[in-house]
């Protein structure tokens, strides 16, 4: 096993995978809170079109993916005041973008295996250059998220009062979509376009069923994300099966287990005694 870790592609995979898992878990917490799961999924498909389109024009697919998703995210963020309830619009953009992706793919290459790489992840072919890039973007995004943490949380829950309190709600919406775009583009490397949910949504959604305390929720989300990713990578290296399969399966199973046992975990309120002013919350 030790020899395994001496190979550079394994190290790269773990480094990149770790950063991305943490990033996706934290950003995912907000995605779930803001009910933007479908939009996030759509962004990953937009990334698909970006990646395939970029290669067509001779650019690196990673660059194309980043550019497309960021543009789309900013566009979506500024066009619509509320993303939830917009699933028809998102769906239409999604189908158009998929059509573009198909076209680009067909024009560029008839090779199906390249498509598979974009669709299902290619973490095992991550170069050290990619790792550095991932590290930079990942840490940058995490820092940005830490800075906007409180106002973003406030604006996500109660935009009206937040606005009245001076929180720049519109700007934060766009900014968050930008951070989401970066996260999605990064996650695509690990699990591919189709399975972004596994890293972005599943850890956060599971954590939020267990605890409603924001800080604990995010930390738990990170723990889940890391377990899925490391577990997936380890199993992928020791068996023949793909990483994304393992990550997706861990993610889905964890979520289902948590959801079905969560009634034991939700904190109950203490009996609502009418005039017990001295009683502390549980």
């Amino acid at each position: 096993m030790i020899e395994l870790f001496q190979q550079s592609f394994v190290q790269n995979a773990f480094w990149a995978g770790t950063i991305i898992a943490i990033l996706a878990a934290v950003v995912g917490y907000f995605v779930v809170l803001r009910a933007q799961a479908f939009a996030a999924h759509a962004l990953s498909h937009i990334g698909f079109a970006g990646a395939t389109g970029a290669v067509l024009f001779g650019m690196s697919s990673l660059a194309g993916m980043f550019i497309f998703t960021i543009l789309a995210a900013v566009g979506i963020g500024s066009l619509e005041k509320r993303i939830q309830g917009r699933d028809i619009e998102i769906g239409m953009i999604l189908s158009f973008v998929l059509g573009l992706g198909v076209l680009f793919l067909r024009l560029y290459t008839n090779s199906a295996s390249e498509a598979v790489g974009v669709l299902f992840g290619s973490i095992l072919s991550v170069t050290s250059g990619d790792v550095v890039l991932t590290l930079i973007f990942g840490i940058g995004t995490l820092i940005a998220l830490m800075v906007v943490f409180r106002p973003l949380l406030f604006a996500s829950i109660d935009p009206e009062v937040a606005e009245a309190r001076g929180v720049p709600v519109k700007f934060l919406s766009i900014f968050f979509m930008l951070l989401l775009a970066i996260t999605v583009a990064e996650s695509i490397q690990v699990v591919g376009v189709l399975l972004v949910f596994a890293l972005l949504i599943a850890p956060a959604a599971s954590a939020q069923h267990i605890t409603r305390n924001p800080i604990s929720s995010i930390l738990l989300s990170i723990v889940f994300g890391l377990i899925f990713t490391w577990g997936g990578l380890l199993l992928a290296f020791t068996t023949r099966f793909p990483v994304s399969f393992y990550i997706a399966t861990f993610a889905a199973l964890t979520y289902f287990i948590v959801v079905n046992s969560c009634h034991f975990l939700t904190p109950h309120r203490s009996s609502p005694a009418k005039h017990a002013h001295g009683e502390n919350g549980k």
């Binding site: 779930v32 809170l33 009910a35 830490m146 800075v147 906007v148 943490f149 409180r150 106002p151 949380l153 406030f154 829950i157 109660d158 009206e160 009062v161 937040a162 606005e163 009245a164 309190r165 001076g166 929180v167 939020q208 069923h209 605890t211 409603r212 305390n213 924001p214 800080i215 929720s217 939700t266 904190p267 109950h268 309120r269 203490s270 009996s271 609502p272 005694a273 009418k274 005039h275 017990a276 002013h277 009683e279 502390n280 919350g281 549980k282």
Partner: protein
């Protein structure tokens, strides 16, 4: 008649129009420290608009507003605001205390790690609205009335000098409604907080408010409840015959919804 520096809120010839429609026209209003004012009027008349103007979320078309001598601006911690409540999703992953905590520092950058002092302030605010016993419950699991109380606690936590409340009583049962009104009266009298409260039903408030501001059809009337809620004044505001009936210690407005 009142000394200028005692006026917390000063509104002069305020006009607000949108899309060619005049919502507020030449409103003049001076609010003193510790005054408790009810804002009444039909839907869409401009009550919420007035609140938004005071909060700096909208700019007047004409006229001026000053709060403690300065123009309104967003994020002014001198004002506490509890908007009209809407039901939150049941699986929203936030606790009651987190929602109240937003009122304290939700607009400040950074993470804001929990600390004892902050928790104590939150507990105190929760206690004031009798919400302490569900401080850690998920917000989505609370009833409409309980959520409304959280919003009020959120508005109170920074010890504001002005409190703006949009329909705070509409989801509350009588008992809690009276508790909130008692709390508001205490704030007004003991802490000299100026309160402006939008409501559809003036009756629970009649014993405690100082003045009524009635807005309808771009016009307004301000004064003691007895003086404003009369057949003559309301008919003039609504531009149609209205009957104001006093019975059973309550006021009934017949012919229009308020």
């Amino acid at each position: 008649m009142y000394m200028k520096h005692e006026n917390i809120i000063s509104i002069e010839k305020l006009c607000f129009a949108i899309g060619g429609r005049k919502i507020l026209h030449d409103v003049d209003l001076e609010v003193r420290k510790g005054e408790f004012i009810a804002i009444l009027g039909p839907n869409g008349a401009g009550k919420s608009t007035l609140l938004k103007l005071l909060l700096g979320l909208l700019k007047p078309t004409k006229g001026s507003i000053t709060l403690l001598g300065k123009p309104p601006r967003r994020g002014n911690s001198v004002i506490g605001y509890a908007p009209q409540h809407r039901v939150l999703e049941a699986d929203l992953a936030l606790r009651a205390r987190d929602v109240v905590g937003f009122g304290l520092d939700g607009n400040q950058w950074g993470i804001g790690f929990p600390n004892k002092k902050r928790d104590e302030m939150i507990d105190k605010a929760l206690d004031e609205v009798d919400a302490l016993h569900f401080a850690n419950a998920p917000v989505g699991h609370l009833s409409g009335g309980e959520q409304q109380r959280l919003l009020i606690a959120q508005a109170l936590i920074t010890n504001p000098q002005i409190l703006l409340l949009d329909e705070p009583l509409s989801n509350l049962d009588i008992h809690h409604g009276q508790e909130i009104i008692a709390l508001l009266v205490k704030l007004a009298k003991e802490r000299q907080v100026s309160i402006m409260l939008v409501s559809h039903d003036v009756n629970p408030l009649l014993p405690v408010i100082d003045r009524v501001l009635f807005i309808a059809n771009g016009q307004f009337a301000i004064g003691a409840p007895d003086k404003v809620l009369t057949t003559e004044i309301l008919s003039k505001l609504y531009n149609t015959p209205i009957q104001v009936v006093r019975a059973l210690d309550r006021i009934f407005v017949v012919g229009a919804e308020i």
